[in-house]
């Protein structure tokens, strides 16, 4: 009986195999003459944001039968590697998404195309100036911003009410200043010997973004303008990082990253406040029993600042006119549908769309949108990935209490300077000129 089954199984597999080969051929060989212009669209939207993006793509395809946008998602970390290598190998897609902080890395490769000549009647003035300007390099715009995604405060309203942190109407009142922030965190923390029962005022669910925001608030700089020197270990940055460590080690209002999954903790209602990206919103919305709201991050340093990112539509430099026009049409369409996109946890960067009643109903997005004028991107440098690796490592080591902020940032700075030195050496060997 087993042998019989095996035989049958083999024939079935063989059949499936053959039909698989056939289907490969059919899709590969059978392109008709009226085939729509194929636009490959790559991005890293692997979460619910991808579902939303697909809906927009589907709508575009329906309204434009002469164009077929085929979307592909790869998790961000892998995405950038793949895109880079595919681009160098001349296999890059027609349209792809780049974060503002990654633009310069890709500009150097030469496969991203400036879009200034395509703008035509696009309402450039409707875009937020700081977001749009951030795409400029050497006088040209290298991408069309599709959104703005800052971090912001998520807070548990139930826990706030329980701790009596309420306004005149008895509604939960989120902190705006340093003292309020520290005070609230203290009031909301309930330590217990049973770790499962403790409640935390604050938790670092995305520490690097939190720390970066604070460094910006403290007025920290990261590089000299000519990128010849890394300033990550400047006193402002050390002080900002020290503030973060103190919440864990001194105030004990935030759990050590050792023994917790802060984001899940917030979803479970055991963490009262956390700063995290607006893109995390869909994950919270799944948790129906959680009474949460969003708010701009408190101002802890001397100036307002918050870490933010923007996704940009970027166009492949090597494509013919037909594809180029189709790709641009798609980018414009997407921008016009920013509100659909905002549902996935994004802030539209078209000012007119933000004023619509539909956006006002997206309460968390609207709150986070208030930070748009002081959003701070990660350094826009060609070696952004190397920088972020070192930065994250420094933050992680410090918050875990393994090293002091100064030690961690010194080490990171030294590592980044090595990258800078390698690049300088490179340039010298190419041009004979010693500039980074």
């Amino acid at each position: 009986m087993w042998l019989n089954l095996q035989k049958r199984f083999l024939t079935i597999t063989a059949r499936i195999g053959i039909s698989a080969i056939l289907s490969f051929c059919l899709t590969g060989c059978g392109t008709s003459r009226n085939a729509p212009t194929l636009i490959r669209f790559w991005n890293g939207f692997t979460g619910p944001d991808g579902t939303r993006a697909l809906q927009i793509v589907r709508q575009f395809n329906q309204e434009n039968p002469d164009i077929e946008v085929r979307m592909q998602r790869i998790e961000w970390g892998t995405y950038y590697n793949k895109l880079y290598v595919a681009g160098i190998g001349k296999r890059a897609p027609e349209v792809f998404v780049l974060h503002t902080s990654a633009l310069r890395r890709f500009e150097e490769t030469g496969f991203v195309r400036p879009i200034d000549d395509l703008l035509g009647d696009f309402p450039v003035n409707d875009l937020d100036a700081n977001v749009w300007d951030a795409t400029v390099y050497k006088g040209k715009h290298y991408g069309l911003p599709m959104d703005f995604h800052p971090i912001g405060l998520y807070y548990n309203r139930k826990l706030f009410r329980e701790a009596g942190i309420v306004d005149a109407n008895g509604e939960a009142k989120p902190p705006r200043t340093k003292s309020e922030f520290l005070e609230d965190a203290r009031k909301l923390t309930k330590t217990s010997n049973n770790a499962a029962l403790s409640q935390w005022g604050y938790a670092y669910s995305n520490a690097p973004l939190h720390v970066y925001s604070l460094m910006k608030q403290y007025g920290g700089k990261f590089f000299t303008p000519d990128l010849s020197k890394c300033l990550l270990n400047s006193p402002e940055n050390v002080a900002a990082l020290q503030f973060c460590v103190d919440m864990i080690l001194k105030d004990k209002t935030a759990p050590s990253p050792d023994a917790s999954d802060p984001w899940i903790g917030f979803r479970q209602g055991r963490v009262a406040m956390t700063w995290n990206g607006i893109f995390m919103l869909p994950d919270l919305q799944k948790q129906k029993d959680l009474d949460f709201a969003g708010f701009p991050v408190a101002q802890i340093g001397e100036q307002s600042a918050v870490q933010a990112g923007s996704h940009n539509f970027c166009l492949n430099a090597n494509m013919g006119e037909k594809k180029r026009n189709a790709a641009w049409k798609f980018a414009k369409f997407y921008s016009d549908h920013s509100l659909d996109w905002a549902e996935a946890g994004q802030v539209p960067v078209r000012k007119s769309l933000r004023q619509s009643p539909r956006f006002a109903k997206m309460t968390v997005q609207s709150q986070f949108a208030n930070q748009i004028s002081y959003g701070a991107y990660f350094p826009q440098i060609p070696f952004n990935q190397e920088f972020e690796t070192e930065f994250n490592y420094a933050v992680e080591r410090t918050l875990r209490g393994s090293v002091t902020p100064k030690e961690a940032l010194d080490a990171a700075t030294a590592k980044i300077e090595q990258v800078i030195a390698r690049r300088r050496e490179d340039r010298q060997s190419v041009t004979g000129v010693a500039s980074p």
Binding site: I16, G17, T46, A86, N206, Q268, G277, K288
Partner: protein
Amino acid sequence: MSLERTELVVGEKRSPFLTWIAQGIMIFLALLFLMPILLIFVTGFKADAEIVRFTGILPHAPTLANFERVLQTPEEFPVFRWLLNSIFISSSVTLLVLTVDSLAAYGLARLNLPGKKWVFGLIVGTLMVPGQILLVPVYLILNRLGWLDTPLALIVPAGAGAFGVFLLHQFFVGIPRELEEAAALDGCSRLKIYWHVVLPLSRPALATLGLFTFIGSWNDFIGPLVFLDSSEKYTLPVGVAIFQSSFYTEYGLTLAASVLCTLPILIVFLLFQRNIVKGIAMTGLKD
């Protein structure tokens, strides 16, 4: 046959009590090992909000929603496409490895080839080469061949591994010479001897190698991750990794996809698993 004997000895003088204890321990261990797999299957039926608050193994409110999402939105998750890709690639790799390796092993084990000791030594020596260190150069070679982002990138290099040649060589060496000589006297060519004498005798070894190769290829993660770009060309393991977002995991969807990814290979295994031990026992790995 050796497989039917040991039982006589072991357990012969043992009290039934001890045997029961031994069996009890084995059952406990086996359940422990199977538990994670059971959990994957059961938890695929839980909603995300329930998964995040673990309250027990069985779902309180079983739901098919995860499976529906995964199966009914082929645009988002082309699961069947990935399944076909996986089947196509793994079958091709298995076929290639079995063909090429058995031919080579036959030549090296049964034919009087000048200098074969050196060649075989070289091949066996590469058993020590960790596959991962070849990643970068193979990537650059595939790039030069223009095979990146095609199934070829996963199929052809898989035929270079030394394990199959080694395994089959050890098996072929043990086949009695007389059978071959009789066939040769009947005027059979070497190719015919290979096909009509050696291969039929080596079924268990071929099945073992085939199964290992198929599983290896099916579960290969880093290969498709590095060599493929387009999501419609992905295999299941890499496709499943898509469900992991950079920032958080959609556990329900991921687990449902994991179930779909695991089921086919489990069936293949259960159909063929009888051959494994027999095959290995007979392939002279003992030396």
